[in-house]
């Protein structure tokens, strides 16, 4: 009896001390207010962009939903965070594995993981933010929120300033208002990333534009050669997921030579994983570097 009272008292005291000495942080996430009363040490992230945000401020997650393919995580992120455990696919991460890692913070994507939000909450406090289909500015906002939650608000503010300076610095060396189109090519389809997409946003941040078309309601659109001819960008940058991809097939066709980008030899290949799947500060800087390389080679 006495023992239990003492026990309870100690716990209360401990909690009180912890609360006052450490911190409680409150942010707005996609489900409303999110509060955390400790600095998270064991973080599980369910999208690549969240891993990027953590790596930008030097925090390493212990688990990533990496589709069981470690090479999908940006090399720059891998360097910072070292090794991690895979928790399955991004679309259906394994909740058992997440629970077995005993995380004290889970960062989930509102678009993919809303249906398991309640379950994730039972494992650990869950911060739910947009990731899939986010824009560049959404991504930076999410990064700030994540940094605040992991107690690295100041570091992130500095990092963002540095990031903006970096982007501005690169932008100066790139042609102004060049019309540049990025697309991801698969074996039988080409998807263009428009203004509203993440990569489109990065391209704009670098002082360039994506071509405007008359109906622009989707961030990623499947495109035929004819539509590509209609858009006719000055620069065409393609990430090939398949070999040979549909764009490789098109390049053998007479109509391909009608494109301005082809005539001026402005068609480039990039890593589709980095350009479209890994979103984040480090990924954007990687894109900027790729572009710098492309334009300085000319």
């Amino acid at each position: 009896m006495l023992l239990s009272v003492i026990k309870r008292l100690t716990t209360t005291l401990c909690t009180l001390m912890f609360m006052s000495s450490a911190y409680a942080v409150t942010v707005q996430d996609s489900k409303g207010t999110f509060t955390l009363d400790h600095t998270p040490q064991r973080i599980v992230v369910l999208e690549f962009s969240f891993a990027d945000a953590l790596a930008s401020v030097g925090v390493a997650p212990i688990g990533i939903a990496d589709d069981k393919d470690k090479s999908r995580v940006l090399p720059a992120v891998q360097q910072v965070i070292g090794d991690w455990q895979s928790v399955g696919t991004r679309s259906q991460p394994s909740l058992e594995v997440i629970a077995s890692l005993k995380p004290d913070l889970i960062i989930a994507d509102i678009s993919r993981h809303e249906s398991v939000y309640d379950d994730l909450q039972k494992i650990a406090p869950t911060l739910i933010l947009p990731s899939r289909r986010e824009t560049y500015s959404d991504n930076l906002k999410a990064a700030s929120i994540i940094a605040k939650v992991v107690g690295k608000e100041q570091e992130m503010t500095d990092r963002l300033v540095q990031h903006q300076q970096f982007m501005a610095h690169i932008a100066q060396q790139l042609p102004d208002h060049a019309i540049l189109q990025f697309g991801v090519a698969r074996a039988d389809a080409l998807f263009l990333h428009t203004d509203d997409s993440y990569t489109g946003g990065v391209i704009q941040a670098l002082g360039m534009q994506t071509p405007v078309s008359d109906r622009d309601d989707s961030a990623y659109r499947q495109t035929s050669l004819e539509q590509l001819v209609a858009l006719n960008p000055e620069y065409l940058i393609v990430g090939h997921y398949a070999n040979p991809s549909i764009v490789d097939n098109w390049s053998n066709e007479p109509l391909w030579t009608v494109l301005t980008a082809v005539q001026n030899d402005h068609v480039y290949r990039v890593d589709p994983n980095i350009w479209s799947r890994c979103r984040g500060i480090l990924a954007a800087e990687h894109i900027a570097n790729d572009l710098l390389q492309i334009f300085s080679e000319q």
Partner: protein, 319 residues
């Protein structure tokens, strides 16, 4: 195998599979862990009580429900190739779900089961309207098939005009137990009030096998037996599909397998087929979680991969 020997055997299988479902997964647990996990505060509480246990119960219920509706539909249409799919219920539910996912993608996924459920029930009502009360069973089946083809073409059209949602939609359409938990179980359970009614119909379904005339002379109205059985099948299928998505082949394969084991008498066939269905889905979900951890495969793929070859073999032997 006779019915007397089937039931103990199936129950032991069910128990063994349930235990395996609790023990194995991306993380293997010991019996002690499982016992501990049932109580709040223990280390494995989430994995055991919040994750594997509700999923286990759901697999049993959904497997049993789909198998029972399959047996009912086959009993009424009296064609072994019939299944709840020929009523277009799962396609209707799928259409409603895909429509919701593509056009209300900001909206919460919480409402998805309700939307799918009403889609499935509407599809059944439309079939009913098209066929009327007095059409033959085979005509009902063929009309259902045509209607299902129509729903399927609408689903394809939606997915192709909004290709962004295609992955989410496909995932739902394959049927999966991932992320389903106590709330879904709670939503599904009330529908199983229908099970005793279905079992009560078994005597009359046997009479139907003798032909409509004999049924009439025995004082059984074949029309009302058919209507009741189909209504129960529709409701159970719609409820199961709304929770887990259309899990393929269970409603087709489970009754077949059971009929081979216990014979065609509905009094034993109906309860036995529920056990078979539950075992099949438990096995499929176990495989889905343990084949390539930590990747979770949709259980619907597994039932298709297990069910399709068996079904094919069965069909070829039927010849």
């Amino acid at each position: 195998m006779t019915a007397q020997r089937f039931f103990p055997f199936a129950l032991i299988m069910l128990f063994a599979l349930s235990l395996a479902n609790l023990l194995f997964g991306a993380v293997s647990l010991s019996l002690h862990d499982i016992w501990q996990g049932l109580f709040v505060g223990s280390e494995q509480h989430f994995t055991v009580y919040e994750y594997r246990l509700p999923r286990l119960f759901l697999a049993i219920l959904v497997g049993a429900g789909l198998a029972l509706s399959g047996a009912l539909v086959q009993g009424v249409i009296r064609n072994p190739l019939a299944s709840p799919d020929v009523l277009g219920v799962s396609h209707g539910a799928g259409l409603a779900a895909v429509f919701y996912m593509t056009y209300f993608n900001g909206a919460s996924t919480e409402w998805l089961p309700e939307v799918a459920l009403s889609g499935g029930l509407c599809a059944a009502l439309i079939l009913w309207y098209l066929c009327g009360a007095h059409s033959s069973a085979i005509k009902l089946a063929i009309t259902g098939v045509a209607l299902a083809a129509f729903w399927a073409s609408c689903i394809d059209f939606l997915m192709l005009t909004k290709p962004l949602e295609i992955n989410n939609a496909l995932l739902w359409l394959t049927g999966s137990l991932w992320g389903r938990s106590w709330p879904q179980l709670q939503a599904l359970l009330p529908w199983f009030v229908l099970v005793p009614f279905a079992l009560g119909l078994s005597k009359y379904l046997n009479v139907l096998d003798l032909g409509d005339d004999s049924a009439n002379s025995l004082g059984v109205s074949p029309q009302s037996v058919r209507l009741l059985s189909l209504a129960i099948a529709v409701a159970l299928t719609a409820a199961c599909v709304s929770v887990c998505g259309p899990i393929g082949f269970l409603g087709l394969v489970a009754p077949h397998l059971t009929r081979k084991l216990v014979g065609g008498r509905h009094q034993s066939l109906l309860p036995a087929t529920m056990l078979t269905g539950a075992c099949l889905l438990l096995a499929a979900d176990l495989a889905a979680r343990t084949l390539a951890p930590p990747i979770e495969l949709p259980a619907g793929i597994l039932t298709a991969i297990i069910g399709a070859p068996y079904f094919l073999w069965l069909l070829l032997r039927m010849k």
